[in-house]
């Protein structure tokens, strides 16, 4: 295998290929940073050109865009509390809080380093143990998927310490919102109140950006609601004074701080790599699950949600660690496990390579060159990110008076651009109102988003299991993997309830 990698390096490290990787990463970071736009859109637009490029160059460009986009999403999440991509939703929880405390540079650097570490781990797994991991991923059928979804929901909902009931309640709201649209089994419309625009359900991007970003914009900008948001306005005033005196030299990520985030980064890398290899599970789930587990195993779990660098590191590493492993089902069985993998699959097809078990054996050299490019793109991401972050940190500290309208407009334009849908813009605004309401009643927002993201998958998996089991609930505990997840969920709850009791 190593000699194959050396052979492929002539192809992978051709100057033009390196140039395309560089271009791709730059484009990806920029697009990822704009809410609503993502690397996926750029990849879709560039698909026909893939046919005219040398495969190694085309791969370099697409890989660069993909990796840059994964990290870029965290820039807007940290700077403005707007997840630039769905995967960055978990990053925004602590990232934005850290920025509000005047530490955008620390937060952004943590995100960059954890993103690169998570991503590299995942790439190495893809290169060296793709086949065994793919076999494990196949053992996940509907029954196992439902157990996984249930486990992650319990994990996240129970996160918000002292607010478990509220956490579960908003998670339920998220699942309810996700049920609008088409019934996944019969295809019938439901909960649409007769509005044809809702018959396909609410899209993820407007809900996500609405809940996080629009609610933030409204809270910061609203004078009419001043009395109600008095407490929040005090924070804004405090923050404004912070912005005045922002000195980037005082906001450097120190070595001990970096080292303290490493455990969270490793948890994220492991969880992200595994979740990424499961077809259909997705980056957002990986990020939230990493975040939940990192908090459970942290020495300072109370800082999570208040600007914890560990929180940022786990979420961002979990999100980026799906990057390499999402290709595992594609390479092993030709199954695109995510939207990005589907686009890469299409690119392979246009280059005359059929995704699937014969992909590697038929195109050994180019696939190994792709492996090298995956790793190299992480380096470019690191260097380019390092160079750009000081500028992004300063942008993050621009006065809200200028920032709020800009974020608002970007959110609307980006939402429209994601699906070319006006309905989505309305959903965005309504989600914003919902976000403001929930925040005023001090509900945590993360469980809602997770409920919304995994609701459809969980429902589908549950109902598929029931169909396969002929309507008998006991089908849910016929799989050892599923039983394992249920036991782990109960153990976690028990463990931390006891730990909480011991503390008080």
């Amino acid at each position: 295998m190593v000699d194959l990698l050396i052979e492929a390096s002539a192809l992978a490290f051709h100057p033009y290929v390196l140039m395309y990787v560089f271009l791709g990463v730059l484009l990806g970071i920029t697009l990822g940073a704009i809410p609503g736009l993502s690397g996926d859109m750029a990849i879709a637009l560039l698909l026909p050109f893939v046919f005219f490029l040398e495969p190694a160059m085309a791969m370099g460009l697409l890989v660069g865009i993909y990796k840059g986009g994964l990290f870029g999403g965290s820039i807007a999440a940290i700077s403005f509390g707007v997840p630039g991509t769905p995967g960055a939703a978990a990053t925004s929880i602590d990232g934005y809080q850290a920025k509000l405390k005047g530490k955008p540079s620390k937060a952004l650097h943590t995100a960059l380093y954890s993103s690169v570490i998570g991503d590299t781990t995942s790439d190495l797994v893809l290169i060296f143990i793709a086949v065994p991991l793919a076999a494990v991923a196949l053992t996940f059928g509907p029954i196992e998927f439902f157990a996984l979804y249930a486990f992650s929901l319990i994990l996240i909902a129970a996160l918000s310490q002292g607010m478990v009931a509220k956490g579960l309640a908003v998670a339920a709201i998220g699942i309810l919102l996700a049920m609008i649209g088409r019934d996944p089994i019969t295809g019938a419309s439901r909960l649409t109140f007769g509005m044809p625009g809702l018959s396909g359900g609410l899209s993820l991007i407007p809900v996500l950006i609405g809940i996080f970003a629009i609610s933030e914009v409204v809270i910061q900008g609203s004078k009419l609601w001043r009395r109600k948001v008095d407490k929040l306005m005090d924070d804004v005033a405090e923050q404004a004074s912070l912005l005045q005196g922002y000195d980037i030299r005082k906001d450097k990520l120190t070595w001990p701080e970096f080292k303290a985030t490493l455990k969270a980064t490793y948890i994220g890398a492991a969880v992200g790599t595994f979740i990424g290899a499961l077809p259909g599970a997705g980056q957002s789930l990986a990020a939230f699950m990493s975040y939940g587990l990192a908090q459970r195993f942290s020495r300072k779990p109370e800082e999570f949600g208040k600007g914890s660098l560990e929180g940022i590191a786990s979420a961002e590493s979990g999100n980026s660690a799906t990057a390499g492993s999402t290709f595992i089902p594609l390479f092993a069985f030709g199954i695109p496990g995510s939207a990005t993998a589907a686009l890469f699959g299409a690119a392979f097809i246009l280059m005359g390579m059929t995704p699937g078990p014969s992909l590697l054996t038929d195109n050994t050299e180019i696939i190994y060159a792709l492996f090298l490019t995956l790793i190299f793109a992480n380096l470019v991401n690191l260097v380019l990110g390092k160079f750009l972050l000081p500028y992004y940190s300063r942008i993050a500290m621009i006065q809200p008076g200028y920032m709020i309208p800009a974020v608002f407009i970007l959110a609307i334009v980006g939402t429209y651009a994601a699906n070319n849908s006006v309905v989505d813009v309305w959903v965005l605004l309504f989600a914003g109102v919902l976000g403001v309401t929930l925040r005023l009643m001090s509900f945590p927002l993360a469980p809602l988003v997770l409920g919304f993201i995994i609701g459809p998958g969980a429902e589908r998996a549950l109902r598929q299991s029931m169909i396969m089991g002929g309507g008998d609930w006991s089908v849910l505990i016929t799989s050892p993997i599923a039983i394992g997840f249920y036991v782990a969920a109960f153990a976690l709850i028990l463990l931390f309830t006891l730990a909480l009791r011991a503390k008080t």
Partner: protein, 323 residues
């Protein structure tokens, strides 16, 4: 200093405009605004690849840029709505299989009728194919029918959305043979394949190009094709007709305009897309993607196959007890 240049530019613009007007005077015609191909599916699938091959090759023949717009919203209905609402000038066209334009229109409350869509290019016919895991007891059409007759309702069959082009053939076969299977809807071909390979379900249906690689590597066996003739990419797999079951349900992939677009523009679009697809580059791209673009047909064929498919879907839907 800049004024004379501005004047020249203006003059040439006026000239160009009048020339355009002169050309256009003998009937409605495509202008130079970009054309949008709306595709009611997500990016990266077979339809998307084909749409992008058209965009890359037909632009020079249609005289303007072609953009591909993916509008999967509202189960694809948003894309159809967008095309239906657009100015009827031929600059917003639709590319879809029959489930969007025919099945959904017949089974749901839509603001248009099946006849409101004007098919202008018949790109290819997809052949729905049934497959199983290579070590499954079922390895042929006859195995399947026998086992299903021996234990009705015991075999789980994964298909994409209900009534989609990889589900209707199963419904027809069950009506023809009287066998019963458990119908399991999935998110699409990828999820069906995962469940088959993981041994979670017994049978699945998909389109040949997506399983060729798995068939060749011996992971899955394709047991039968719902088509009049075998698939080019899976030449060893028999059709259901060969096995003695008279069920065939090919799925045409068509380009449409909305019916209100003038006839001349429909003709012009149909011709420029076909010319573009006949080019060497387009054919080479189609070959690599197994898109089946070797025998692209114009409006007559598109209309005929659209009408025939509508009749068949109408029959199946009528025979189902939909509420």
């Amino acid at each position: 200093m800049t004024l004379p240049y501005a004047k020249t530019a203006l003059a040439s613009a006026v000239l160009a405009l009048s020339a355009g007007a002169a050309l256009a005077s003998d009937g409605p015609s495509l202008g130079s605004d970009p054309i949008r191909i709306v595709m009611p599916y997500g990016a990266g699938g077979s339809t998307d690849i084909t749409a992008r091959i058209i965009a890359a090759n037909a632009a020079e023949h249609c005289g303007t840029r072609i953009d591909v717009v993916s509008m999967p919203g509202a189960g694809g209905m948003e894309g159809l709505q967008f095309v239906a609402d657009a100015e009827p000038d031929g600059h917003t066209i639709l590319m879809a299989d029959y489930s969007a334009t025919i099945t959904q229109t017949l089974t749901e409350d839509t603001p248009w009728e099946v006849e409101d869509w004007a098919p202008i290019v018949h790109l290819t016919d997809w052949k729905p194919t049934v497959y199983v895991k290579a070590d499954h007891d079922i390895q042929s059409i006859d195995d399947w029918i026998e086992m299903a007759e021996a234990n009705p309702g015991s075999l789980v069959f994964g298909h994409a959305d209900p009534l989609s082009l990889v589900h209707l053939p199963l419904v027809l076969l069950e009506q023809e043979t009287g066998i019963e299977n458990v119908h399991l809807p999935t998110t699409g071909g990828g999820e069906t394949r995962t469940m088959i390979l993981g041994g979670h379900i017994d049978l699945g249906m998909t389109l040949p190009p997506s399983i060729v690689s798995n068939v060749n590597s011996g992971e899955v066996t394709a047991i039968g094709v719902f088509a009049d003739e075998r698939s080019d990419v899976l030449p060893d797999v028999p059709t259901f007709q060969e096995a003695g079951y008279d069920v065939s349900f090919e799925a045409p992939l068509l380009v449409y305009t909305f019916g209100t677009v003038p006839d001349e523009i429909q003709q012009q679009l149909s011709e420029c897309i076909m010319t573009g697809l006949a080019s060497d580059t387009a054919q080479a791209m189609g070959q690599q993607a197994s898109a089946g673009l070797e025998n692209v047909q114009g409006r007559d064929s598109a209309r005929a196959v659209y009408e025939a498919t509508t009749e068949r879907v109408r029959d199946v839907v009528a025979s189902l007890d939909l509420d």
